[in-house]
């Protein structure tokens, strides 16, 4: 596990919707070391400004040849807003790759479920999976929230889209798409698919419930507040399903088996 503290140039920053951005950096060391599900901490303040103080965690969306490191993020507050103001040639300080990524395993098929910007890590994950019978479910509030659909279609056998307002794909939540996959709760599944989920807490909980009924293991990628992202501050605690112990999302995760987590 190699981690780097790098000063990276922005190759490209594309505004995909009003508040969703696709950031492409040049970060050869990090890109080479990165595994699906890992994340980076990005400094967002400009120049020598000290505010916002902390770096912001973003999942690695993709890595490419010649050191491309990609992120997909939504502007939700001051840090992401400042990041979005930068453009090609500007510099971003990045720490990564961090944390434990997805366990890729050897399941004969995989179902990847992303809600909102929880779709970000799924592209890099899909690229890494083998054998390649991959279904990706992308959920959002509306069509605007479903971004980079063409890229996802290139890496998966099947891509299902759900939107809450029905403006694209299936109207409903990601679970509506899961139901359609026709993996019956009663059936004894011979080659159980691997399930991966990333998105808002209630969405992941719903996916876990759906999977639990079917006896399927789920890996989830969690978000918490983070200060360091490197395992030294112990700030990113989340309750483990085992009694009185906390897991630390930045070093024990961000990816966990759902059964290790206390879903509250």
């Amino acid at each position: 596990m190699s981690r780097y503290s790098a000063i990276c140039h922005i190759i490209d920053q594309i505004r995909l919707t009003r508040d969703i951005f696709h950031l492409v950096l040049n970060a050869p060391d990090i890109a080479r070391a990165a595994r699906p599900g890992q994340f980076c901490m990005l400094a967002t303040a400009h120049g020598k400004g000290l505010d916002p103080l902390l770096r912001r965690p973003l999942s690695i969306h993709d890595v490419g040849p010649s050191g491309r490191l990609e992120f997909l993020y939504r502007v939700v507050g001051r840090g992401t807003d400042l990041l979005a103001q930068k453009g090609p040639g500007d510099i971003v300080c990045v720490l990564g790759p961090l944390g434990q990524g997805f366990r890729l395993g050897t399941s004969s098929s995989s179902i990847l479920v992303g809600g909102g910007l929880g779709t970000a890590p799924l592209l890099f994950l899909a690229r890494g999976l083998e054998p390649r019978d991959i279904t990706i479910i992308l959920g959002g509030r509306d069509a605007q929230e479903i971004v980079r659909l063409d890229s996802f279609e290139k890496v998966a056998e099947k891509v299902l889209v759900t939107t809450e307002d029905g403006s694209l794909g299936i109207k409903g939540l990601v679970t509506s798409a899961l139901e359609r996959l026709d993996i019956s709760p009663s059936s004894h599944i011979q080659h159980p698919p691997a399930i991966f989920a990333c998105g808002p807490w209630p969405m992941m909980k719903a996916v876990c419930n759906w999977a639990a009924i079917r006896g399927l293991a789920v890996q989830v990628s969690l978000e918490t507040q983070m200060a360091c992202g490197t395992g030294i501050c112990l700030g990113c605690a989340t309750r483990s399903s085992g009694q009185d112990r906390y897991l630390h999302v930045c070093k024990d995760g961000p990816v966990f088996f759902a059964t290790d987590i206390d879903w509250g």
Partner: protein, 311 residues
């Protein structure tokens, strides 16, 4: 390994200092709670470049820490309510110290307790353990027996803890003061008189934030400790005051992230400094501070950093 391959870091790690009997390659340490037990950060920050590190506060028994959320960002600052999560004394000695022993840097163990007895027991156990250069006593914890008032807020309690610890250890004892007091020099003098070998200041300032969307405190613990650049002016003021009130060395802590921040503390009277929150933001901060101090000294033509103290 052959001599010519050995890492010759001496030129990079100047200036050596003697801090209450502890030999340091340079006066830059990592602050407790912001460098884990060292191993977690060594790949991003070569600990051998530094004077030393103060490990995460150790209690007698392992502690799980507070429920999340534990941290919250504030303007130029960080609120934390980690709740002193730590592996406990015995696991520290068996699991963490062996790795640290192999690293050529000073190891100072930050200790904490809910009672004078707990502090004393830990200090006694650490006495004579190879690989430990000093003890830093965190007196910001509430004294359970005295009704929850922090040791660090009461000169008599602070002195009592210090005296009892000094009785059971021959290690240099550094007492880390809390800034949440009316007059920090009163505590500093009481602790000095009780035999402390050095003082560390400051620990975090008590603060809070509110999550207005969810209409509740941003931290599960309600209150948290404020650290980072925001508190630097307060820390510097206290170091200035205490350095003029006591004879023992003062280690300056609070919001230091650049060489010039560190130099402000040396000018105020600090004999060494610790870097906390800055390492969380940028793991390389401490190494940059070491380099910056060395080149400042070159430019000023001095060989002892204490020469820049303002009289």
């Amino acid at each position: 390994m052959p001599a010519f391959e050995r890492k010759d870091t001496h030129a990079m790690t100047r200036p050596e200092v003697d801090l209450a009997g502890i030999k340091l390659k340079n006066p830059v340490l990592l602050a407790s709670g912001t460098c884990g037990y060292g191993q977690e950060i060594n790949d991003l920050l070569d600990l051998e470049l530094l004077g030393g590190l103060v490990v995460k506060g150790i209690s007698l028994i392992e502690r799980p820490g507070n429920p999340p959320p534990r941290i919250h960002e504030t303007p130029c600052g960080l609120l934390n309510a980690i709740g002193l999560e730590n592996v406990g004394l015995e696991r520290f000695l068996s699991e963490k110290l062996p790795w640290l022993e192999k690293i050529d840097t000073a190891v100072i163990v930050n200790i904490l307790g809910d009672s004078v007895e707990e502090y004393t027991q830990i200090a006694q156990r650490l006495n004579g353990v190879p690989g430990i250069e000093g003890i830093e006593v965190n007196i910001s914890c509430p004294n359970v027996k005295a009704g929850g008032i922090a040791f660090g807020a009461d000169p008599a309690l602070a002195a009592e803890v210090t005296r009892r610890i000094k009785m059971v250890t021959s290690l240099p004892v550094i007492v880390k003061l809390s800034p949440n007091v009316t007059d920090i020099t009163v505590i500093a003098k009481a602790v000095e008189e009780a035999g402390a070998d050095a003082l560390s200041l400051i620990n975090t300032l008590l603060g809070m934030a509110i999550d207005i969307k969810n209409k509740r405190p941003a931290l599960a613990n309600v209150f948290g400790g404020l650290s980072g650049p925001a508190i630097k002016p307060i820390a510097l003021r206290m170091v200035w005051q205490v350095a003029r009130a006591v004879e023992i060395p003062v280690i300056g802590i609070g919001g230091i992230s650049t060489p010039s921040d560190a130099i402000e503390f040396f000018m105020a009277g600090a004999s060494a400094i610790q870097i906390g929150t800055a390492t969380l933001v940028n793991p390389g901060s401490a190494a940059e501070v070491v380099t910056g101090i060395a080149s400042f000294m070159d430019k000023e033509g001095i060989d002892d950093i204490r020469q820049i103290r303002i009289i």
